[in-house]
Amino acid sequence: MNKAIMIVGVGGQGTLLASRILGNVLISSGKQVKVSEVHGMSQRGGSVVTYIKYGDEVYSPVIEKGQADIIISFELLEAARWMSYLKEGGELITNTQRISPMPVITGAQSYPENIEDKIRAAGVKLTAVDALAAAEKAGSSRSVNVVLMGVLSKLHNDFDKELWEKAVEQCVPTKVLEINQKAFALGRELV
């Protein structure tokens, strides 16, 4: 049975690194894996998405509405935006950090209130964590991505913790490895 995971966020939040870590875990556990990313224009502070699919035989690298098992959102509004991609019974994990998009900054639109409640009211299983606070505690606000991988590794213990830790080690630059190892551990403590 194939599984479909989405990592969504705002360009610049490090979603690509997170998908690399997850991809690394999956491939070393012997699954067939496909990862689809968006580069270029969309990265400049825009809404970004990475699709990760794995199983015995994966064809399309893309996930569409009603097809995702898990969505990990790096930002609250993005959780609301991509919610419809979950399949029946799918799970949403979100960082509670808010980053205003340009129409909110210019006042043309407002940032929706009580997003978490509304997602839950729609019948979606939601886990909300303050990954930014944990990242800052780890030593860098830029490690939000690794905190959230820590959260995912704990909530979905299909794969050994050691496999995850090895993947973090392989994907993160040596200079900031220590911060990210701390971020991963703190992420696991959030849930």
């Binding site: 689809s36 400049r44 809404s47 399949k87 340009m102 129409p103």
Partner: protein, 577 residues
């Protein structure tokens, strides 16, 4: 060893394993990473470079091929427009060492100004075109492309699309083959395309197409999967993956790995076994038109679209009539378009151009985002270099009416690519136009590639740097000045003065991209709530770090890089360090 690789990375691996030794490319999403990954292999084996544009890149590859080396160039779909000139005649000369051109199309326009289908170029130039559907095939087809190139004496196009280039799947790495440089022998009849020689070569090109069509009938690139179903699907590239996911064993497949030339008998035989045959291809109806031309009745664009990307649901809906159910968030969600980054040196220029009400002839790069609200400071964007030549045409068209109130904006890399010829035209034909070169010392939008104006080559080694001021003067522009785009008063003065002059002029707005690792950032600024009068002047620059908080403006401390542009707009001194 098996590794998870981007399609682009797998092409680079294929180049390495094929013994390719010369690579010349111009960056362009979604093709850029091919050359970046190739440059990580030892440069004495596989020499890589960024060329000023795709035409130069393609001609470099042609020259290297004639010399006897296996050569390569990569570009995005619109880049092939620029490189089309060498392509169409390299088809006549053929190759010595194998030559492959990778062209990455962008269905859905994730990062492009149009959605053109590069297969038309393969048909027009009469060269073979291969289309992989995942990373494994990206590597395998690259290797096959060199065999075809040398066997049939032709350049080969490797056509990718965004989803293939930017998806990762598993690839087996093999040892590279040592490719012995072929002898170079002077051969005027083969390589000098005078009419007399080209007339003879065209005959060979037509014979080659016939031979390649024969090859297409039975080559391993074109595969039939017979499941015994009465539904047939003819497809290629990423659409094969979508079709397999959507239909599984409910259809027979003819997967075409070579999309030019297309087989005839293979298609006829496949179609004969099916009750209904669907052609599933993104963008244009290339395979469909071919099928109809050989008398095979297919279902194509009357059910599918010419627009954007297809996905598994597109196919499931059309062929099986099935859709997935899902739950929407109950409220409208504000869009999150890409924006100029916090600290972006382009922001100050666009703020002043908007303030002065100037008509802006735009170009291709990060700075095209200057067209977005709240800056909205752009009137046109067409293609690489069109800002400069387009402004000249605009000014000629309005008979001088806009000469004092219209400018062109173009990045350093885009200016080198094809802006400089437009500037020569401005100087030569005296159109009294003002061109602003946004020199941020990097090719930004495609992810930070060095270019001929920043003094570094693809390997980061020191290189000759184009002196933009001297270049502008050398082509005949007498009024050339440099300004810091983060100094709003200086920018305003420069734009006003240059527009007022009765002669062509160039302003070089020079400040490195805020995302460059070499750029040191200052601590973030904060709003002093006691001084802030909520006039929102600072919000007019469209900085993603400045937003409306609960009661007053706030600066996001994780995003602000301390560029200080906003402090120049605050009349109350409320933005503090």
């Amino acid at each position: 060893m098996s590794k998870l690789m981007l399609g682009n990375q797998a092409v680079a691996r294929g180049l390495y394993e094929a013994g390719v030794s010369v690579i010349s490319s111009y960056p362009g999403t979604p093709s850029t990473e091919i050359t970046e990954f190739a440059s990580k292999y030892p440069s004495d084996k596989i020499y890589c470079e960024w060329a000023p544009n795709e035409k130069v890149a393609c001609e470099t590859a042609v020259g290297a091929s004639i010399s006897g080396a296996r050569s390569f160039c990569a570009m995005k779909h619109v880049g092939l427009n620029v490189a089309a000139d060498p392509l169409f005649t390299a088809s006549y000369t053929g190759v010595n060492g194998g030559m492959v051109i990778a062209v990455a199309d962008d269905p859905g326009m994730h990062s492009s100004q149009n959605e053109q289908d590069s297969r038309h170029y393969a048909i027009g130039a009469k060269v073979p075109c291969l289309e992989p559907s995942d990373s494994k095939e990206c590597k395998d087809f690259t290797l096959t492309a060199y065999d075809i190139s040398e066997k049939f004496d032709t350049p080969v196009i490797l056509r990718l699309t965004t989803r293939v280039s930017h998806s990762q799947s598993e690839v087996e790495e093999l040892e590279p083959t040592e490719y012995a440089l072929k002898d170079y022998n002077k051969d005027i009849a083969k390589y000098v395309m005078t009419p007399a020689n080209a007339i003879k070569k065209h005959v060979l090109v037509e014979q080659r197409t016939a031979a390649l069509t024969e090859y297409a009938e039975s080559c391993a690139l074109n595969v039939v999967e017979d499941t015994g179903s009465d539904i047939g699907v003819i497809t290629s590239g990423i659409c094969y993956q979508y079709a397999k996911e959507a239909l599984g064993d409910k259809a027979n497949y003819l997967k075409l790995g070579m999309v030019n030339p297309l087989p005839v008998k293979l298609i006829k035989d496949f179609a004969a076994k099916c009750k209904t045959v669907y052609v599933i291809e993104e963008l244009d109806d290339v395979i469909e038109t071919h099928c109809r031309s050989i008398g095979v009745d297919v279902v194509g664009k009357e059910k599918f679209t010419y627009l954007g990307e297809y996905f598994q649901s597109t196919i499931k809906k059309v062929i099986l009539g099935e859709t997935d159910s899902f739950k929407e968030f109950p409220e409208p969600i504000p869009v999150r378009p890409p924006v100029l980054c916090a600290g972006c040196p382009h922001r100050g220029i666009f703020y002043i151009l908007k303030k002065l009400g100037v008509t802006v002839s735009g170009d291709i790069g990060c700075y095209t985002l200057g067209s977005a609200a709240p800056l909205s400071a752009m009137d046109t964007t067409v293609c690489m270099g069109a800002s400069v030549s387009g402004l000249h045409g605009f000014n000629k068209g309005r008979r001088g009416e806009y000469e004092g109130k219209a400018v062109a904006v173009i990045g350093d890399s885009t200016f080198i690519h094809s802006g400089v010829t437009g500037l020569i035209n401005i100087a030569y034909n005296r159109s009294n136009s003002t061109v602003i070169i946004l020199d941020n010392s990097i090719t930004g939008m495609t992810g930070h590639q060095n270019n001929p104006a920043n003094g570094k080559n693809i390997y980061g080694d020191p290189a000759a740097a184009v002196d933009l001021e001297a270049l502008a003067r050398a082509v005949g522009i007498n009024s050339v000045r440099v300004v810091d785009p983060n100094d709003l008063a200086a920018v305003e003065q420069a734009v006003k003065e240059e527009l007022a002059k009765p002669e062509p002029s160039v302003i070089i707005a020079r400040r490195p991209c805020a995302l460059l690792k070499t750029v040191k950032h200052k601590p973030p600024f904060k709003i002093n709530a006691d001084k802030c009068k909520n006039c929102k002047s600072c919000m007019r620059i469209g900085c993603p770090a400045i937003c409306w908080g609960e009661k007053h403006v706030t600066i996001d401390q994780t995003l602000c890089v301390g560029c200080g542009l906003c402090t120049q707009l605050c009349k109350f001194g409320a933005i503090e360090e």
